[in-house]
């Protein structure tokens, strides 16, 4: 599973966090699942902390709703844009609440409950200062408008 299409010759900021859906070719979050415990994990945990059994990789989808958000106005770490936005997203597919970057281009669109979908772009740099891809969620209406 390769990271993102188009601008995707850059490496991902970390392995195994996002990929491209086999269904529609759009970016998806990747996690893992323990079938016996019926639990999903993000980021992927190779062991299920509940039963210590091995998990399997699972696509966690690309859609959700904003649970909370903030726009960070301090000097950004890791070469992220200033300001940048982050939040917790309730994923539609599995009920997990995941931390993510958010699209800060239209901060007025960031509201609790707003539907969002995953995107992947060159964003900041990795720990060694090299440019890399990062996933972020953007309001669905904003995606439709572009």
């Amino acid at each position: 599973m390769r990271a993102s299409a188009g601008r995707a010759d850059l490496p991902a900021f970390a392995p195994g966090i996002f990929g491209v859906s086999g269904n529609d070719g759009l970016p998806v979050l990747l996690g893992s699942r323990c079938a016996p415990c019926d639990r999903a994990y993000f980021p992927r945990s190779s062991l299920c902390p509940n039963c210590l059994g091995e998990t399997v990789e699972q696509e966690l989808g690309s859609r959700g709703r904003i649970y909370s958000y903030t726009v960070v106005r301090t000097k950004p770490p890791l070469g992220l844009p200033a300001p940048y936005a982050v939040g917790y997203i309730d994923l539609d597919s599995c009920g997990l609440r995941v931390f993510s970057l958010l699209d800060a281009a239209r901060p007025e669109c960031l509201q609790i409950g707003v539907p969002v979908r995953l995107a992947v772009s060159p964003l900041g740099h990795d720990g060694r200062g090299n440019p890399c891809l990062r996933p972020y969620f953007t309001p669905v209406d904003a995606v439709a408008a572009t």
């Binding site: 900021f13 903030t70 960070v72 770490p77 982050v86 931390f99 993510s100 720990g127």
Partner: protein
């Protein structure tokens, strides 16, 4: 927990001390605590040293042995403790249980931090964490709590800001606090936005400093008039459940309830509280976890003056982290030093009159939207 007493306490000023070093600060606080206890170092049966950033910033590992040896605490067990913002209070927790076990009669606990160095940047939950690599810095973590909390309970930005106003007012009476000038509501709200809705004056500042306490068994503490009893000392870690509720801090509540249970008291028995007000929203949530008000009522609690010096249950009369600053390894001990001074009636102009039962709550670390560590200590006279 009958049988463990606090017989000595001391701390350095909390400030940006350009010329100070980690072990020097630690020795200064430890010496104050030992002198307060009136004990020779030879009587100390174990040493616990709390520090967070020394290994990262200056390469100082196992600094505790260095500090203890310089004070004449040699040959006995010495343990170095790192548990994020709760390092000092976790060291205390270990020491309490060591004394309680009978392994030794006297323990010296020192928490210290030297962190005002160029380029430190904002703290985070660990550089390898995925969340850190996606931009989660500490102010953002608490801003996300604040946003959700305000959404669910209707708490206002003004109520959040009043925590800073109150604690800075308290700090005018604390000569060891870094910021002792009062601030107005307009100043707090008008200070630069860090991560909305959290402004700069709602974030605890960096500081260097150290704090220390001496613990003793009842055998040693028996004839000491100024001894303070430790009724409970608990430490717990996060539950990391997903989805986590950012508006109700389960780990915080669980820690507080466990401490009440161990001490055999409830929130109505408290006279004075120090809690981990690293950010304004944190104090509001901790006062709820402590049961000082109903869930969602923390904003009204501070607005109504209940947590002000002279109110129903004064919180952070030292000025808290928001005024003292937050030398990570020292904070958990400094909170206890404040409670000890209050219970001894030695807190000067910020004395809570007649205080007999006090509590210090601390939280640290950030993982999966939960704290990695929560400590609560209940003390009484």
């Amino acid at each position: 927990m009958s049988g463990v007493f606090l017989i000595g306490a001391g701390m350095t000023p909390f400030q940006r001390a350009a010329l100070a070093d980690l072990t020097g600060l630690a020795r200064e606080a430890a010496l104050l605590a030992l002198r307060d206890a009136g004990l020779p170092a030879a009587q100390v049966g174990a040493g616990y040293f709390a520090n967070v950033l020394g290994p990262q910033l200056t390469g100082e590992t196992t600094a505790g042995q260095f500090v203890m040896a310089a004070l004449g605490v040699r040959r006995v067990p010495v343990v170095n403790v790192e548990n994020a913002c709760t390092s000092g209070s976790t060291a205390l927790w270990l020491a309490v249980h060591g004394v309680q076990s009978g392994e030794f009669d006297v323990a010296l606990v020192v928490g210290a931090e030297k962190m005002s160095v160029p380029g430190l940047g904002l703290l985070h939950g660990g550089s390898k964490e995925i969340e850190t690599q996606l931009g989660l810095v500490m102010p953002a973590s608490f801003a996300l709590r604040a946003r959700r909390y305000m959404y669910e309970f209707g708490t206002t930005a003004e109520q959040l800001a009043l925590v800073s106003v109150k604690n800075r007012r308290h700090a005018t009476h604390n000569p060891l606090a870094q910021y002792r000038e009062p601030v107005t509501l307009a100043q707090v709200l008008g200070s630069p936005m860090i991560a909305d809705p959290i402004t700069r004056l709602q974030c605890c500042p960096t500081a260097d400093g150290a704090a220390a306490v001496v613990l003793a068994s009842s055998k040693v503490a028996r004839l000491r008039r100024r001894a303070v009893r430790i009724d409970a000392s608990i430490q717990c870690s996060g539950s990391y459940e997903n989805p986590v509720d950012l508006a109700r801090w389960e780990t915080d509540r669980r820690g507080c309830l466990l401490a009440y249970e161990r001490a055999g008291i409830g929130p109505d028995d408290l006279d004075v509280v120090e809690c981990h007000d690293a950010f304004s929203i944190a104090e509001i949530m901790h006062t709820e976890a402590l049961g000082l008000c109903e869930p969602g009522g923390g904003g009204l609690l501070v607005e109504g003056g209940a947590t002000t010096l002279g109110g129903r249950i004064p919180v952070n009369v030292s000025g808290g982290l928001l005024s003292r600053g937050h030398p990570l390894g020292a904070t958990g001990c400094a909170q206890v030093v404040e409670i000890v001074q209050q219970l001894r009636g030695e807190a000067g102009a910020r004395q809570v009159l007649g205080a007999r039962v006090g509590l210090a709550q601390c939280m640290g670390g950030d993982q999966a939207a939960d704290a990695k560590s929560c400590t609560v200590v209940v003390l009484s006279v």
